[in-house]
């Protein structure tokens, strides 16, 4: 643990140099469908993004937008009738799709770990807490002495702020916040390269949520892991992530650094998302958006957001916008912007 601390501590420095960052995980045109009686639901419709070493990428969007499906797709945990239709997932330069189940199993948890929503049902009710952490250690590292594993688990408990007395307890004896921290301890126990945190604090009370979120931040800093955080709470995202990918109806519509996205969201949907965050600082008039979404089995041609977009144009109904880097580190998929000859970004609607 201490070794990890020294070798990675520099990566979390506030101002990170974008060009130097090493890509860890590359997702390219990932497509996931769910088969239903009335046709395939397109849960993830070809998304691409890169996760860099030591960074935290937030994946946001409303329920059903495919953010969790994306995560489970990366982990190859999609359950039938869902399945990955196409795409590539590269981890440290190696394509994960097409790997045999056996080979991929070895990468699980050592390279790719998951922190699920632990307050729910993520812990096996018939196994003690320590057994559930020990079995992953033994599976990937082989048999070792009981005392050694115990010491390691107790160290993990200390890292995430859990008391040692829960070592011998069953999950039903723990509170929601404790279960969540057990899940964090489990997620980091093999020092993985990438951790995916799926709504890991959303079922908790505000104060407990803060404690758990801070634990997560602390652990990330300590280990220097790269993290994908999935969630819908924009406030929490602002606190925790370096970059944000905004998803809508199975697509990423904008990826930007957390600062740019909160200050200057470019995609109309990102704007809606930022505008609809209720503030604790000032009382402002509520901004209402219409909530009509298309049938996920049968998306309309053109832009995915056209039915709800306040700036919808003719071109949006026929041509699908592609992701373009309109500003440094800010990629947007929207027809609203044009890059002129000088390389300046113009808002089409504003100029017309």
């Amino acid at each position: 643990m201490s070794e990890a601390q020294t070798s990675h501590s520099n990566t979390t420095a506030k101002a990170k140099n974008w060009a130097d960052a090493k890509p860890v995980l590359k997702v390219d045109d990932l497509r996931i469908h769910y088969e239903t009686p009335k046709g395939a639901v397109i849960a993830v419709a070809g998304i691409s993004f890169t996760l860099y070493e030591g960074e935290t990428l937030g994946l946001v969007g409303e329920s059903g937008c495919g953010k969790s499906t994306t995560a489970y797709g990366i982990l190859q945990l999609i359950q039938p009738p869902g399945h990955i239709v196409g795409g590539e997932i590269g981890l440290e330069g190696k394509n994960l799709i097409g790997l045999s189940e056996r080979d991929f199993r070895r990468l699980r948890w050592t390279k790719l770990a998951l922190i699920p929503q632990g307050a729910m049902n993520s812990l096996n009710p018939t196994m003690k807490v320590h057994e559930q952490i020990a079995d992953v250690i033994v599976t990937h590292e082989g048999r070792q002495s009981k005392e050694k594993i115990k010491q390691r688990i107790l160290d993990l408990f200390k890292t995430v702020g859990l008391p040692a007395r829960i070592y011998d307890m069953f999950p039903h004896e723990l509170s929601g916040g404790m279960k969540q921290r057990v899940c964090i301890a489990m997620g980091i126990c093999l020092n993985p390269t990438v951790v995916i945190a799926d709504e890991s604090t959303s079922a908790l009370d505000v104060v407990v949520q803060r404690v758990v979120a801070q634990t997560l931040l602390k652990v990330k800093e300590l280990l220097g892991v790269s993290m994908i955080m999935i969630g819908h709470d924009m406030g929490l995202m602002a606190q925790m992530v370096d970059r944000i990918a905004v998803m809508y109806a199975g697509k990423i519509v904008e990826i930007a650094s957390v600062h740019s996205l909160f200050k200057e969201p470019m995609h109309p949907y990102s704007q809606v998302l930022i505008d609809s965050i209720p503030s604790l600082k000032e009382k402002k008039p509520l901004k209402i958006t219409e909530g009509i979404t298309h049938d996920p089995r049968n998306p309309p041609p053109g832009c995915i957001f056209q039915l709800r977009c306040p700036h919808v144009m003719d071109v949006c109904r026929s041509k699908e916008p592609v992701m373009r880097e309109l500003k440094p580190r800010q990629e947007v998929a929207c027809h609203l912007y044009e890059v002129d000859a000088k390389g300046e970004v113009k808002n089409v609607a504003a100029s017309a």
Partner: protein, 334 residues
Amino acid sequence: MSQPLLDIRNATKVYQVGGGIGSKKKEVVALQNFNLTIADKPATITTIAGESGSGKTTLANLVLGFTHLSSGNIVFQGKDISDMTHSEILDYRQNVQAVFQDPFGVYNPFYRVEHVFDLVIKNFKLHKNDSEARDRIEAGLNAVGLRGEDILRKYPHQLSGGQRQRIMMARAYLIKPKLIVADEPVSMVDASLRAAILDVMLKLRDEENISFLYITHDLSTAYQVGDQIYILYQGSIAERGPTTSVIDKPHHPYVQLLVDSVPQPDPDDKWETDIELPDEEVMRAADAKGCRFYPRCPNRWDHCLTAAPPLFEVAENKHEASCYLYEPKVAVKR
């Protein structure tokens, strides 16, 4: 002074947990000596906020008559709801309506959406004839931005969460109650659609003179729409007052922690301090006599264990906090 719309006096609710043959019952105090008044006019939105287990849902169930008080009174327009006759209860139901958290579960999956309207029209005898009933439904739906032909003949699973919750608002509007208990109405609705529902609340308050008891764990929506706020901690009021006053300047140590823990949607405004939580057991085993926040309180002293702190005024606009820090005498002594 006119009669208040709703007056809750010294309400205490104790649940018996466990029991049955051979095992002892345990008592859990869900609400303790709770007082709340909602004025008849003008209509207001009163927020009840707190974490899970704070007693806020118990309060909603009590006001809606799903459970009964262990002691104390809930008085609606001068009439104690536990002394009501059958017809008075029906009348009360018509005057006190609700919107619940889960916008899916409130629809019986067996029926079409129109069933929720048919129920109230039939039971409250709101119509003279069918066409009048239809007009009223349409008017209610229009008020929340929906059209009858789009939704009434559909099954609930064919609608979006936001639509379903707005229909619930339309239903409440149709009955034209005096008070709506809104139990976490937006917590299961997507962020971008919350505003539409909160806006209906504001509209009903201002145009139809309907008061709200807005129950939530989310301080920021409360801040946007609420007039008065009551923040509960383990069944007791920690702090109450005008929403802006309480959230801008929280006095009770718990409320300060709570407000501080809400993640700010601003990457430049990050949490500064680390906080620690004591063990669950310690938190729950709070001495029944003293302040319930004692085990977690950074400002505690022995005095807090003598008795539960009453509400002390901390600002002139009826902003009160239940903490000995603000006890006039003691404050001087310190």
